[in-house]
Symmetry: D2
Subunit: 345 residues, 4 copies
C-alpha cells in the first residue's frame, strides 16, 4: 500500500514516518513539509539517518496514493479536506480538526467556527478500542487527543458498564513536553521547562470535549479535567477519580477491566501488589503503542482512582494512527507496532 504523509516535519509526522518506513506492508510515497521542502527527512528527524533517503516535498506536489496521513497543526486540515480527498480514497487525520461530531463544540472548546462542518460526520473517531468496526469500514478516520485517549481507555470500561455515580469524573492529566509540538518558545526553553510541574490548563482543556463525547454511554458525562506538564519528553499519565454507584469490591472492578480488555492487543491492565511498576507508568512506554490501565479502590469510600498511561506520540498519536491503518487495511492490528518499550529508560 502506497501511503503519503502531509505535515511530516513535526513530532507526530516524524514518528509516523519512522513507523511507516519500517511497516512491512506499506511503502512511503511522499512526505510534505513547506518549510523543509527539498531537505532530507533525516535532516529534521535524525533518528532516521541511514534508514531513508526520502526528501520532503511541498503539499503542492502531492500525488495520488492509497492512503493519506495528515499531521498538520490543528486548524489547517479543515480547510484542505475537500481537495485532499481527491488524492486518496482513504485518509487518517491526526489533528483535532475532525474529532468532534458537533461543530458547535469547536466554538465552545476551540474558540472558532469549524470551516467544514458537513465533513465532520464523514469521520470516525479514531480510537480503535472504541470504534473498531466503524474504522474497519471507514474512509476517513480522525485522530484522538493524547490526553483524551489515555482518559478514555482508562474510563470507558466503567462508564460503559454503568457503574459511575452521576456519570461524573475528575481527571488530572500529566504530560511530557513533546505533546506541545516542535515550536520553541520561552515556556519550552530548557532552563524554564526542565523540572517543571506546571499547571498549563487547570480548566478548559480542549480534550475535555472528546472525553465527554465518547463517554456518553448512559447520558452526558460530567468531566472535570485539568492538565499539568511534568518533566518528561514522551508520556501521559491520566489520574481520574470517580465514585461507584453500587457496591463493588476491587475484584468486581478488576473483572470489568479484564472483560473489556482481555482481547485488546494494545491495552494492558496493570495492577500489582508489589514491585516498582505496580500501576501504569508512562516512563516504560516510550516508543510503544501500549496504553496501560490500572485502578485502586479507596478502602475509605466508594471512590475509584483510575490511572492510564501511554506515549503521547505513539498510542496518543502516530502509533494509534498506524493501528487504525492496520484495521482499515485488514492487517494484523499490531503490524509495525511491536516495539514494547524499554526498561530501564
Amino acid at each position: 500500500m502506497q501511503v503519503s504523509v502531509i505535515g511530516a516535519s513535526g513530532y507526530v509526522g516524524g514518528d509516523l514516518l519512522r513507523l511507516l518506513l519500517q511497516h512491512p506492508k506499506v511503502q512511503v510515497g511522499q512526505a510534505t513539509s513547506e518549510s523543509n521542502a527539498g531537505k532530507f527527512v533525516y535532516a529534521v528527524h535524525p533518528n532516521l539517518r541511514k534508514l531513508t533517503a526520502l526528501k520532503f516535498c511541498s503539499i503542492q506536489e502531492i500525488k495520488p496514493c492509497d492512503l493519506l496521513f495528515v499531521a498538520l497543526p490543528h486548524g489547517r486540515f479543515m480547510h484542505k479536506f475537500g481537495p485532499l480527498t481527491a488524492m486518496a480514497p482513504r485518509l487518517i487525520d491526526l489533528s483535532a480538526d475532525f474529532r468532534l461530531r458537533e461543530s458547535q463544540d469547536y466554538v465552545t472548546w476551540y474558540g472558532h467556527e469549524h470551516a467544514d462542518p458537513e465533513a465532520l460526520r464523514q469521520f470516525v473517531y479514531g480510537v480503535v478500542e472504541l470504534h473498531r468496526e466503524e474504522i474497519r469500514q471507514a474512509s476517513y478516520v480522525s485522530g484522538a487527543g493524547c490526553l483524551a485517549t489515555a482518559s478514555l481507555l482508562g474510563l470507558m470500561p466503567l462508564f460503559r458498564s454503568g457503574v459511575v455515580r452521576n456519570q461524573e469524573v475528575f481527571i488530572e492529566a500529566k504530560v511530557g513536553s513533546s505533546a506541545a509540538g516542535n515550536e520553541s518558545s520561552l515556556s519550552t526553553h530548557h532552563p524554564e521547562r526542565s523540572g517543571a510541574v506546571r499547571s498549563f490548563q487547570p480548566t478548559g482543556h480542549r480534550h475535555t470535549a472528546e472525553i465527554i463525547q465518547e463517554l456518553g454511554f448512559h447520558g452526558r458525562p460530567q468531566v472535570h479535567f485539568s492538565a499539568t506538564a511534568v518533566e518528561l519528553v514522551r508520556g501521559v499519565l491520566a489520574t481520574a477519580h470517580l465514585f461507584l454507584n453500587q457496591k463493588l469490591d476491587e475484584k468486581d472492578v478488576w473483572n470489568i477491566y479484564r472483560t473489556t480488555y482481555a482481547q485488546e492487543p494494545f491495552v494492558r491492565v496493570v495492577k500489582e501488589r508489589k514491585g516498582v511498576y505496580r500501576y501504569p507508568e508512562p516512563k516504560i512506554l516510550a516508543g510503544s503503542n501500549f496504553c496501560d490501565v490500572g485502578f485502586e479502590k479507596d478502602p475509605h469510600s466508594d471512590r475509584v482512582v483510575v490511572m492510564a498511561a501511554l506515549d503521547n506520540l505513539m498510542k496518543g498519536a502516530a502509533g494509534n494512527g498506524v493501528q487504525a491503518l492496520n484495521v482499515m487495511a485488514g492487517w494484523d492490528e499490531t503490524t509495525g507496532l511491536q516495539f514494547p518499550g524499554l526498561h530501564p529508560i
Copy 2:
C-alpha cells in the same frame, strides 16, 4: 539560643542544620545520628563543607539546650518524647508522630497504635499560617506533612470562608524524590525513578488525615486524595478540585485569597494572565520557604481548581520548622529564611 537536632543525618535534618548554622539568632549545639556518630556533618551533607566543623554524636550524648528539633523517621520519636522533654523546655518535631490530635487516627492511617496518646494534645500542629498564636505560646510543636501543608495552604481560605460545596475536595499531589527520604531502594534507583510519573499512593495516603483534621471549619471535610511521584528532587504541587456552594466569580475568589494571605510573609498568591509562571510552580521554590498558591475558576461550571506549590524540605519540613521556631522565640518570622529560590534552575 542553643538549639540541637535529633536525627540530623536525613534530608530534613540536613536542611535544618543548613538553616540553623546560618541563623543569626541560633547556635547549633549538637546533631545526632546513630549511624554517623563521630563523622563530620559535612561528610553526609556535602553542601556544608567549609561551613561547619560539627560532628554527629549519638542521641545518648545529648545535652540540655534551649530548644530541640527532632527529625527522626516516623514512629521513633513517639517512644522517646518523655525522656527528651528533660533536655529542653521547647521542642519541635518534624516527624508525623504528634501531628494528629486523635490517637485513633494513627490506627486508621498509620496502621499502628500511638505509643504515647496522652502526649498528643500537648502538641500544636505546626503550620504557622493556621496556628500562629498557639505556636507562639507552645512548648511542643509538631511538623506537618509536605503534601498536607501544600494542600492546606491552598484550600484553607476557601474552607474557612465556607464556600466549598459539601466540604468536599479532590486532591492530586505531585511530589519529588527527596520526600521519600535518603534510604535507597529499587524504586528510588536512578534508572527506575528518573522520568517517573508514578502513582505511589492513589488512595490511603497518610497526609489525608492531617488535611481532614485541619480543614474542619464547617464540619468534617471529605478529602479524596491521591499522590503521584514525578521527576523532581525537591518540590510538591497539589492540584485540588472543588465546587463553590454559591455564585462567586474569579474576583470574589481572588479576594478571599488576598484577604487571607496579604500579611503572610511566606504565602504568595500566584495567578497571572501571561508568562511562563502563571501559576504556582515548585521548580522555582527549591530552597525557599514560600508556599505559592493559585486557582482557576472553570468557566464551564462552579468548579475551582486550586494549586499550591512548595519545597517539601523547606516549607514542607525544615523551613517550616524554623519559621515555627522564629514564632516561638518572638523573632521576625523570616529570620534565616530569606533565600527566595533560584530562576532558572
Copy 3:
C-alpha cells in the same frame, strides 16, 4: 535456534530477553536468575508484559541449547565457563570476564587474578566491526565494555590508518546511570544521582585495558581515560582528543571514516554543518544498536576531537551481543536490531 540466557534479571539480561523474544530466528529457551527463580520475567522487566509468559529458573536447571548468552555480574562467569560449555556449543558472554587476552591485565585493571586464564584465548573480543571474520568462526565470543566500544569505534579508523601522533589519546567518557547495573545504593539514589555530573573514575577505569588491547595496530597505544556520570539513563558519549602525525584536513579525515564505515550497518558517521544533532548524541540512540561517530579538526592545531555515542545497553551490551549472534549464525546482521531510536525522547 534455541537460545538461553544466564543472568537474565539484570539490565543487560532484560534487554537481551527483549531482543531475543522478538528475534525472528530465535526461540528463547530459559532465562536464569537465582533471586527471581519462579517469578515471571515480566515481574522484573515490566516492558515485557503481554509479550511473554516465561519464568525465571535457577542456573541449576539449565538445559542444553544451541547458544548460551551469559549476562552475569563481572567475576562470576570465569568460575563457571567449563561446566557451561557442556550446555551449548556456542556461547556469548556479556561480562568483562573474557574480554582481555592477557590474564595479567585482570590483575592490573580488575585487581584480582583470572580464575581461568587458559580459557581467555578461546574467546574473540566481541565487537563485530573489529573482528567480524573471527566472530563468524568463533564458538566463544566475549562482550565489550560500553565505554570501550564507543571509544574503539570512534578511534579505530584513525589508529588503524596510522595517523595518530605517538599512538596517544585522551578520552573523556560520559555515561548514564543504567551502566552501573540494577543494584541500588546511596550513589544511585535518585535525589543524589539526578542531575549529577560526577567524576566517578577520573583514572584507572577498567575499560582502558580493552581500548589499549584493541587499538594496538601500530604499537602500544597510550590511552588517558576518564569517566563521568551524567544525567541520563541509557547512553554513552566518548569525547577523545588526539593529534595527527601528518597534515590532514577535515576532508581527509572524513575519508578515513567513510572508507572504514561505509558498509557497516550499525555505524553512522555524523558530522553536520547545522542543525541540533550535528554530532553524535546518545539521546536519540536509546533502544537502537547504532554507534554514531563524528569528529572535528581543531583549526588552531593538529588536534582532532572524536566523538562516539551509543546506548550502553544496546550497542554497548545486549544489542552488540545479538549482532554477534547474527554474525555467528550467518543471518543478516541487522536481524532483530532494526529499531532506529526515537526522536524526540
Copy 4:
C-alpha cells in the same frame, strides 16, 4: 552604595538582582531592559515576587550611581563603554567584551574586531582569586567566562607552580543549559535539549582565549578545549588532563592546592576517599558561589586529572561579580554570598 544593573532581564542579570536586592550594603537603583521596560522585575524573574516592586527601565533613563553592573549580551557593551563611564565611577561588566587584553584575540576567537580596543587595558580580569589586589584598586572589572573560571581555578595552582609538562592541558567542560542564555531556539527546546549530551563546541570555544591568557605563568600554555552540553540547568564541570614535569605524588599535589586555596572563601578542595561526593560536583553548587576543585593522579602514569565545578550563573557570572564588588568596596568578600547550596537537589 547605589548600584544599577544594565541588561537585567537575562539570566545573569536576574541572578545579579537577586543577590543585590538581598545584599546588606547595597541599594539597587535601576534595572534596565529594553524589551521589558515598564514591567515589574518579578514578571521576568518570578523568584523575586514579593521581594521587590522594582520595574525595568530603558537604558536611556539610566541615572548616575556608585557602581554599574553590565550584563548585556556579548558584543553590545563595547559600543557603550565610553558613555556609560559618565554614569558611575566604577563598573563591572559581566559580558565577554573586556575580558581579553589583546584586541587581536577578539578577531581570532570572536570573529570580529573589538570596537574599543583602547579601553581593554582599563579592565582587570575579574576572577578575584587571580587578581584580588588589582580588583581592589580597579575602576573597571570584567567578568570571566563560566567555563574559563572553572578551568582556571582548577588549573592555576599547578600552572603557577610550574609543574605542568609543556604547559599543556586537555580540558573537557560539561555545562548546563542556562549558560546559553534565555533566548529559546530549537536546540534549547525541551524535547530536544532534555537528556542531551551534546558536543556543541568540540574545538574553537571562545573561553579558550581567557584560559590561555590567564595561565601564562611560565610561557604560553597549550590549551586543548572542548565543551559538551549536559542535562542540567545550572552547573559546570571542567575535567582537565595534564602531565607533571617532575615526580610528585598525590600528597605533593594536594599540598599545592591546599597552599593556594587555604584562605580562599569560595574555593574548596574536594577530594574524598569515599562517599557519593568524592570530587567536585556542580549539582550541589546551584545558587552557591563556591568553586569546588579536586584532582586525581593516575597511578599508571604522570597524568593528573583535575576537576572543577561551579554554578555558571553564580561563581561563573553574577556571584563572581558580587564578589568582585565586595573586594572593590572593601567589604567582607562573602557579603551577600553566603548561600551554601542545597543537598539534595
